[in-house]
């Protein structure tokens, strides 16, 4: 592995849930306290291995963001979180300005817990609300209702001055008016950040089986587009900046961790099924808890596969990930990175996409048009080698 002097983002996967949501395809197992404790000891082992591996000449690796994702990281007690964070601050260099996010579900939040989280060093919450409509929540298999969601968001606001809520749209049988009500309630609560995800039916999930069994129909892409445009209009009118295809933020509250992904910058993922990117290499861990622990027991990293990106692949990824940001990709940054002009290298693709009205170039940046935001995949695929 190459040494990396850049700052890193750190992702920690907490693969436990008290029940699986019907749409989710992230790796998780049923929550058991004993297993969680055992897992945390291995997670620390993995963290220690990387701290040794990555630090050079007595210099610790600097972390810019930390993100606890899952699974359900909210299942960790504040004490357990604090232990992990303590280890991280011993082994890595953690800037006092670092963003430290924790994914939580409304149903697991209490005032006490929130206070303790804040004290342990968490400074940003990402709350999995998904909807303010009870029918939709139960369709998705969430374990809270709209009332609880509202209460817990208000509660979170008392302890945190930075939090985000996730919402899902294009849910089967959801009408534009339903979506509008959910958006209105979200805006009333004035979160700092909102992520909007169009429901994707992933292979192997309970929803995929229901779909195959004909229990519902997928939302037509033209309604999906209406919902997206409605949300964009609502949120922008309420003072949110639309800064990434699926993300909106009040001034100064963009997700710094997620920006690392879009900006083609390095990050380390620990825990089963987590993904890392550094030195032009993408690698990921086994998405299997026992295999993960077994590898660490044998003194190995629990890495399942490594892919060294070719130069062409790196260029493609920088462009298609960067185009997800509304500000787009900086032509100068691209040139600095690859020593070739983006507009010359992709001249043919750019010409085609411009003529289709999907992208625009200006102010040293290439970015998506509004039409391009809706049809991003048609743009992204053009840059693939």
């Amino acid at each position: 592995m190459k040494m990396n002097k850049d700052t890193l983002g750190l992702y920690l996967h907490i693969p436990f849930c008290q029940g699986k949501c019907r749409y989710c395809d992230f790796y998780s197992v049923n929550f058991e306290q004993a297993l969680l404790e055992k897992y945390l000891s291995y997670l620390k082992k993995e963290l220690l291995s990387y701290s040794i591996l990555l630090q050079g000449k007595g210099r610790k690796v600097e972390l810019e963001t930390i993100y606890f994702g899952g699974g359900t990281p909210g299942l960790l007690s504040a004490e357990e979180l604090a232990q992990v964070l303590d280890l991280i601050s011993q082994e890595f260099s953690l800037s006092p300005l670092a963003e430290v996010s924790l994914e939580v579900n409304p149903s697991s939040l209490t005032g006490e817990k929130l206070q303790a989280y804040r004290k342990s060093g968490i400074n940003r919450l990402s709350i999995g609300v998904q909807s303010f409509n009870d029918r939709e929540l139960s369709f998705l298999g969430r374990r809270h209702d709209a009332r609880e969601a509202r209460e817990k968001i208000e509660l979170a606001g008392r302890y945190f001055d930075n939090y985000s809520i996730d919402l899902i749209y294009a849910i089967p049988d959801q009408e534009l008016a339903d979506w509008e009500r959910t958006l209105q309630q979200a805006i009333q609560l004035s979160p700092y950040h909102v992520s909007l995800y169009s429901l994707q039916i992933e292979e192997g999930t309970p929803l995929a089986s229901s779909l195959a069994a004909g229990e519902f129909e997928e939302t037509d892409n033209s309604l999906d587009a209406e919902m997206y445009l409605l949300a964009r209009q609502f949120l922008r009118a309420s003072g949110y900046e639309h800064y990434e295809i699926s993300n909106f933020a009040r001034n100064g509250y963009q997700s710094r961790h997620n920006r690392l992904y879009w900006e083609f910058r390095p990050y380390l993922g620990v825990g089963p099924g987590s993904h890392s990117f550094m030195g032009g290499e993408r690698f990921w861990n086994h998405a299997d808890l026992s295999l993960y622990m077994e590898k660490l027991n044998q003194g190995e990293l629990p890495v399942q596969e490594r892919i060294q990106l070719s130069r062409e692949e790196q260029m493609a990824e920088m462009v298609f990930m960067g185009l997800r940001l509304l500000e787009g990709v900086s032509l100068t940054e691209f040139y600095k990175m690859f020593n070739v002009s983006l507009t010359e290298y992709y001249a043919r693709e750019i010409e085609k996409l411009q003529s289709q009205g999907l992208i625009t170039i200006g102010n040293d940046r290439i970015s998506l048009t509004e039409k391009g935001l809706l049809l991003g995949n048609l743009v992204f695929m053009e840059f693939l080698p």
Binding site: Q200, N221, S274, H275, R282, A316, L374, L375, G376
Partner: protein
């Protein structure tokens, strides 16, 4: 029992080279060459799935041609495709040695598309094993082949297979066989799966099938029952020596084209090729003679001696013509050369495959390819895609039409795009087939309805046993090459079987149906249909295209037209949204793979004007809706 075996012999060729070959010699050293009483030539007649290949394997195994360990499943079907689909495409031959006898098994293709090849294989034998599934009974195709076998005066040994199955009913099968005039006295009950009856079968072959006639002193006549192309040795002709003998160094002549070649090698199949130095009357084996092209050594031709030629060829040779045509186009125009090479290579092994270059406004450069039938077409298409890695657009299959123009000229049209101006047409004739359908009588109504819907003319109906019926219809071939058979199957819960043969051309009221996409006619989607059903076909075709053509960035109208008259129209709504929403926790690789898959899907589409059309759309005319 006599003891016989193969012993090495030497042959010195004219040019001075020495060949070592193996000769069958009786104990005491008498060479058996030229004798025929120890030879039996036989084939196996069976319906698909009745266990022909498994039985052949068992016979090979029992006679020690191959050990169990060496046996891949079903050795005789050499192509992956044959193994996968459980069908035989090319004839194969193998020599079995059993109790001092030489038993030549010729495995024949089992599909109506290859009826001519089957007839030539049967002509190479004196007897046939008739394999019937003990629970399925006699099927149409089996019956057709039984008649063919009887025409060739073959001794038939009925083998009632799969008696290990709980549903087996051998007595019922025997009754069926008696009904069609087969002697069931010597019928053998067998299970190729567990080996029951294999020894009985081998003994019966020796006992009942006559030895070939010994005519070693007559001029050479060898029947070509198949030929394959080998990159190193050229054409390998699979032959039955009917009269005389042939050795390396001799000159031979193909009687259909009078081409002369010098024999390099002769031998037998065990099942790999083994040189023998001579083949003589009654034997089955191969001849290699520096023939460069299977077209010069077609199935059914007679090989004779150039020096001492026979006066008459063996009966039955005909050059077979394709029945079904379709356009094959590379999805990527740059692959045209590859497609050309691939067709050339396939034709080396398949003289019945014809092709010529063709240009489509919509699809660019491609080929109009002629096939023996739909299965043949599917096989060729699959081999091109699998063995040569080509991505193809295949247009709907078409037949050959005879169009008489008002000025007296007669056109042979295989491509709907070449259809002349309606005003110049005097009459149009299309090929008809005689279709024989065998089915339980409870489904007769549904089957007759289907035939009528497809312009079938009722010819005959008879009971072949208590509850099984044979229906005969004359039907336009163009109706059969859509999914007629699938519908027949579904309407008869899979019980019906279908067999057909070409009977000639008949005049029909036909029109050309055009499809317009975004206002532009797409030549590759044009079809020829009967005037009475044109409107309904047009409506169902545009609605099917609507399902098959993905949404584009703009609205796409799809229309069906006859001449200038639009008869149906649908609109494909514009694609409004297509973008990955989720972050996948930094899993960029997954995102990239999703995009790659989408891009791959796009690549497989054909750009027609500004519209991307998937390959399946060009075959859309093949399917029909049940509710039509």
């Amino acid at each position: 029992m006599m003891s016989r075996g193969y012993f090495p012999c030497l042959l010195i060729k004219k040019r001075g080279s020495v060949i070592i070959f193996y000769e069958l010699v009786e104990e005491g050293g008498t060479c058996l060459k030229g004798k025929t009483d120890h030879i039996r030539n036989f084939c196996i007649i069976a319906h698909i799935d009745h266990g022909k290949s498994t039985l052949a394997d068992r016979l090979l195994e029992y006679t020690g041609v191959l050990s169990e360990r060496e046996m891949k499943d079903q050795v005789l079907d050499k192509m992956d495709l044959e193994r996968e689909r459980g069908i035989t495409i090319k004839a194969q031959a193998v020599r079995l040695e059993y109790k001092g006898y030489e038993l030549n098994l010729i495995d024949t293709p089992g599909h109506v598309d290859f009826a001519y090849e089957v007839s030539r294989s049967l002509a190479a034998c004196e007897g046939a094993l008739l394999v019937i599934d003990a629970s399925q009974g006699v099927e149409a195709q089996t019956l057709a082949n039984i008649y063919l076998a009887l025409e060739h005066d073959l001794e038939i040994i009925p083998v009632i297979n799969k008696i290990d199955l709980p549903s087996a009913n051998p007595d019922w099968v025997k009754e069926q066989l008696m009904d069609i005039g087969i002697d069931v006295e010597g019928a053998i009950l067998a299970s190729a799966k567990d080996g029951t009856g294999i020894e009985d079968i081998l003994d019966a072959i020796i006992k009942y099938i006559p030895a070939p006639e010994n005519t070693i002193d007559s001029p050479l006549r060898a029947l070509v029952f198949d030929s394959i192309y080998d990159a190193y040795q050229g054409v390998i002709a699979y032959v039955r020596i009917v009269d005389g003998q042939v050795k390396p160094g001799e000159e031979i002549k193909l009687m259909s084209n009078n081409k002369v070649y010098e024999v390099d090698e002769v031998g037998v199949f065990k099942p790999d090729m083994v040189k023998t130095g001579i083949l003589s009357s009654g034997e089955v084996g191969y001849i290699i003679a520096g023939i460069k092209d299977v077209k010069n050594c077609r199935v059914g031709d007679t090989i004779t001696s150039a020096q001492n030629p026979a006066s008459e060829p063996l009966p039955g040779y005909k050059k077979i013509k394709p029945m079904v045509y379709s356009g094959l186009y590379p999805t990527d125009n740059a692959d045209y050369g590859l497609l050309n090479d691939a067709l050339e290579k396939l034709q080396l092994n398949d003289a019945s495959l014809t092709y010529e270059p063709e240009t489509s406004e919509a699809l660019g450069f491609g080929f109009r390819v002629g096939f023996l039938g739909l299965l043949h077409m599917e096989i060729i298409q699959e081999r091109l895609e699998r063995e040569y890695g080509l991505d193809l657009v295949v247009t709907a299959p078409s037949v050959e039409y005879l169009i008489s123009l008002k000025d007296g000229e007669i056109l042979e049209i295989e491509n709907p795009a070449d259809f002349p101006d309606v005003n110049n047409i005097e009459k149009i004739e299309e090929p008809y087939v005689k279709a024989e359908i065998f089915l339980p009588d409870e489904f007769v109504g549904q089957a007759m309805e289907l035939c009528q819907q497809n312009r079938g003319e009722f010819k005959d109906m008879q009971y072949i046993d208590e509850n099984r019926v044979r229906l005969v219809y004359d039907i336009p071939l163009s109706e059969l090459i859509t999914d007629f058979f699938d519908h027949l199957k579904s309407r008869t819960r899979g019980y019906a079987t279908l067999d057909y043969e070409f009977i000639g051309f008949k005049e029909s009221k036909l029109v050309k149906l055009d499809i317009l996409i975004s206002g532009e006619p797409v030549d590759a989607l044009s079809i020829i249909v009967h005037a009475d059903t044109a409107e309904a076909k047009g409506r169902s075709l545009v609605s099917r295209l609507k399902k098959l053509i993905p949404q584009q960035m703009f609205e796409v109208p799809v229309q069906a037209a006859i001449g200038n008259k639009i008869i149906a129209r649908v609109n494909i709504k514009a694609l409004r949204k297509n973008v990955l929403a989720k972050c996948y926790g930094g899993d960029v690789t997954r995102k990239r793979k999703l995009l790659e898959r989408q891009k791959e899907g796009k690549k497989r589409m054909k750009m027609v004007g500004k519209v991307e059309i998937p390959q399946e759309a060009f075959m859309a005319v093949l399917q029909r809706d049940e509710d039509e």
